[in-house]
Symmetry: C2
Subunit: 109 residues, 2 copies
Amino acid sequence: MLKFDDKGLITAIIQDVKNNEVLMVGYMDKEALRRTWDSGEVWFYSRSRQELWHKGTTSGSILKVHSVTKDCDSDALLIKVEPTGPVCHTGNQSCFFQPLMAEDLESGN
Amino acid sequence: MLKFDDKGLITAIIQDVKNNEVLMVGYMDKEALRRTWDSGEVWFYSRSRQELWHKGTTSGSILKVHSVTKDCDSDALLIKVEPTGPVCHTGNQSCFFQPLMAEDLESGN
C-alpha cells in the first residue's frame, strides 16, 4: 500500500535508464501517478503551482517511463525513464548540476 | 540559497558512486545537513521518529559522502556515497527493489 504524505504527495525520483544519471525529483499525487501509469509518460503534481503537470508539455522534453519501483517503506518511487531532451529548464540534462558549497549551509529559509 | 519545506526539511537522494544505483531517499533538516557536511557521513531527520538519525548507527551500514549537489531549484540534494554495507533494513543493497504493481494504484492512504 503506497503511503502518500499529509499533502497527498509521494516523492518520485527520475533516473535515466541508459546511464543511471539522476535527472530530477518531483512529487506526485494519486492522479499524477495514475496518469503516469496509464500514459507511460511522467506527470507530477507541482507544489508551487498546485496543479497537475505533464512534464515536457511546454519544454518538449517528455519522460518516457521504462520502469517504476517503490521503496521498502512504500513512500517513495524510483522511475527509470528515457527523456526525449534535456530535463532541466536550464538546458542541462539533469537538474542536479550545482555542487553544494559551504555557504549553502549558512543560508536557507 | 537552499529551500527547506514548511517542516524545515529538504529531500536527499542517496546514490551509489560506484554504479549510480539509487539506494534510498531521506529528508534532512539543517542540523542533519550540517552534521553530514562536517562528518562526511550521512545524517537524516527521521519524519516518523522525529529525530536526527545517523544512518548506520544501528545497522552498521554507514553512508560515506563522496559528493553533494543541489538541484536547479535548490530544494533537493543528490548525495553520492560509498555505503559500507547493504543500505536497506531488509538486507537489500537498495531500498528500491519492489516493482510498482497495478494494485498499488488502487490502494494508498
